[in-house]
Subunit: 504 residues, 2 copies
Amino acid sequence: MGNYEERIRNEQLRDRVVTAEEAASWIENGMTLGLSGFTRAGDVKAVPFALVNRVREEENFKVNVYTGASLGSDVDKLFAEAGILDKRLPFQADPTMRKGINKGDFLFVDQHLSHTSELIRSNVMNVDLAILEAVSITEDGMVIPTTSIGNSLSFALNAKSIIIELNMSQSLQLEGLHDLYEPGKQGDRLPIPLTKSKDRIGTIGIPVDMNKIRGIVFTDQLDSPSTIVPPDEDTAIMAGHLIDFLRQEVEVGRLTNKLAPLQSGIGSVANAVLHGMLDSDFEGLEVYSEVLQDAVFDLMDAGKVDFASCCSITLSEEKMKTVFANFDQYRDKLLMRPQEISNHPEIIRRLGLISINTALEFDIYGNVNSTHVLGSKMMNGIGGSGDFARNARLAIFVTKSIAKDGAISSIVPFVSHVDHTEHDVDVVVTEQGYADLRGLAPRERVELIIQNCAHPMYRKQLLAYYEEAKTRGGQTPHILEKALSWHINFAQNGTMLEKVEELV
Amino acid sequence: MGNYEERIRNEQLRDRVVTAEEAASWIENGMTLGLSGFTRAGDVKAVPFALVNRVREEENFKVNVYTGASLGSDVDKLFAEAGILDKRLPFQADPTMRKGINKGDFLFVDQHLSHTSELIRSNVMNVDLAILEAVSITEDGMVIPTTSIGNSLSFALNAKSIIIELNMSQSLQLEGLHDLYEPGKQGDRLPIPLTKSKDRIGTIGIPVDMNKIRGIVFTDQLDSPSTIVPPDEDTAIMAGHLIDFLRQEVEVGRLTNKLAPLQSGIGSVANAVLHGMLDSDFEGLEVYSEVLQDAVFDLMDAGKVDFASCCSITLSEEKMKTVFANFDQYRDKLLMRPQEISNHPEIIRRLGLISINTALEFDIYGNVNSTHVLGSKMMNGIGGSGDFARNARLAIFVTKSIAKDGAISSIVPFVSHVDHTEHDVDVVVTEQGYADLRGLAPRERVELIIQNCAHPMYRKQLLAYYEEAKTRGGQTPHILEKALSWHINFAQNGTMLEKVEELV
């Protein structure tokens, strides 16, 4: 086995190596699978493929698939296409799966990413079989995750049995980077003893009951690289506005030049905004986030970021190569945690994070829609945005002010779906500017949002709505007959602009 | 001074006694006042009255009024009538004030009750003058609150100066009941060392900088009694459904007969539901809540509740008399905390509370509106419901299925305002039954909610909406043109029933 012995250091477990096909043959109709994987990193690749090959189009075969967050390697696509899903949770970001969700082909439960573990721990939801990617298994049987932790600890502790995918392409350098902490049952739980981003509070691997490990499969497929696009002009301008805002906070003494631990959501816009910090005066920064994307490593290279705690590392192909080729540079600056801990309200509030997440749209009062296109169609899911926004020191939402060449305004009178209420949204940023909503009543927010954040082509139309709404009174004035008219207009006429509607 | 020496035990402070009128004369135009008071308990009465008398209708006099939550003694009514308010936060429950808010006469910021202290501590919002009701001031200058704590600690620590109202009608027996804990600045903060409802973690009074105490006013007006109405047939039935649900949880082993610490929102419905526990098999119960209403003391008398932690005690006139006449029975079973601690996400999640709050309406997917009538008009405010629902073990919302003799259905296709998203709502209860939404996708929730919770007179109409919406697809199917039609119908025709609309 050579190399294999380095990966399975517990001798007892060495005879459990099987093929992916054999492992997949153990999966029965109706089972709930708990898979490793968070934002395309550290997901299992071989057993899901083998399962799909085995049961594709088998009419009476359905499984529930629980994960950390989104998967790479087209696993979600394959599951969706194979028609073998009953329920998927708590997050996904695959176009084919999205179509299946919105057609109602299978069920999708969109959960706060910190909540899934609680529901499993308390037996509200159960996992039959955990399938976890690992870089190695230690002498004492601890399973060392790869490039993400996600819900793997919780799956391992609560599943009836476990399959390990030992991925030979994942660097052994990852060993020692993880920090696994299990809070215990509610009511019998101690405070989570983490007071700084870099605090180590757990074990370097998942302590599993070795009897539960049913099989070990060797694999060698790398994580899918991240799909983010490089910063463009608009995202660079947005980053500039955000930095202006933060600089103001430093000037009035609410923050220092080290800011506060940063969280940044997944995706191109959030990555670009963080990237903008390269040109700022801020230094000695810390990151306490779910996902580390390229920008964080660029900030480390530039000496801006001193430490980053995360739940997964999702990099572009190029960045992945350079990071792992020079891993010693980063090792002491990184720590990976279960998503329950990276996203825990207790920690987010204690550390006082600065949280930056992407909005799909927000309304003139500051309510944010992160998930549903035109109120009905799922995009990806709420992810960790709710965990962070509710508990952060600064809950910041970013989006471009228009989409589809101006046919869509991201600022609307009334969001078609609410993920974050006005109570949870501190600052909104577009390429037009930012609006600081803290301590403001709904009526105070309107003008700020329209003037600072809406695209000029939509400002008059937004103001006209508000002026008419005000005649009806209320804490949050609305004209219910027109509240959703912008979305209806777009669905019917392909634009939110009123003029076009009048012409049609 | 006799009795007075017992109330002001610090000699240095005795010469600061002034009249309410003199204290009120220090309040200047533009100031922000931080008043004690939470749900009609422990509010200051004399200085606000004197202020209103002084400046009533003075055109150029405005103040901001921050409190714990709602005030009693008509203070909010007087402020609203006097026209001297610029901004009020974070909660209110006064009909006159509500009118003023909805007319736009002054601004109201509706905040999570655990958030206000953070905003003050971090200088996002500032308090000029704290006016706090106290039962006494100790030898070392600690201010002992009365029947609520609210945000008083935060106001005292952050205000430039402080006025104390020593209320001679508030029983000295309250001394020793309070537990004041200041978490400290975000980022430099330790875990809050509270792991059980009864843990004492702070001081028995507010440690104030004595130099900041500008005046002490003696008063003797009792708290306004609570305005809850006794349980009626419907609330008793709702309590029955809730108890059935909790009994199920015990049967499947997720809870024991002691349940988990209970939180119950303010108001008649929540009180009635808690009252229903009197007839249950549950015992050895604990309460970790904001407000203790009559029901908790009835449960203590019946030997059902062993301990109750709260932020305020708001009782009916009758109950107030018997509780204070027999205070020794209750003393060891009570603890009062700042609202930041009673409502802290860290503690709520750690203890795993069972949280029961009132909804104004909820939709077929489980989104809850707690605050806005027809999407625009403020009722009271979100209060602590968001703090609890997001972090509780069980987030339960209760409401009667219809209002105004059936003209309003509390279950609608699309809520006209969202305070709690589907991610935060575990169980909904009406007099019709309960729907357990945990782990369910939106499409799975619909039928449960309609069949178990909606009033029979609205079930067909709700199902018809959903059936039509499904033809459009989506994770959360909606017909945007009709989503708010129920509210529009009510506003125009006085009913949500479709038939009437067709006849018009």
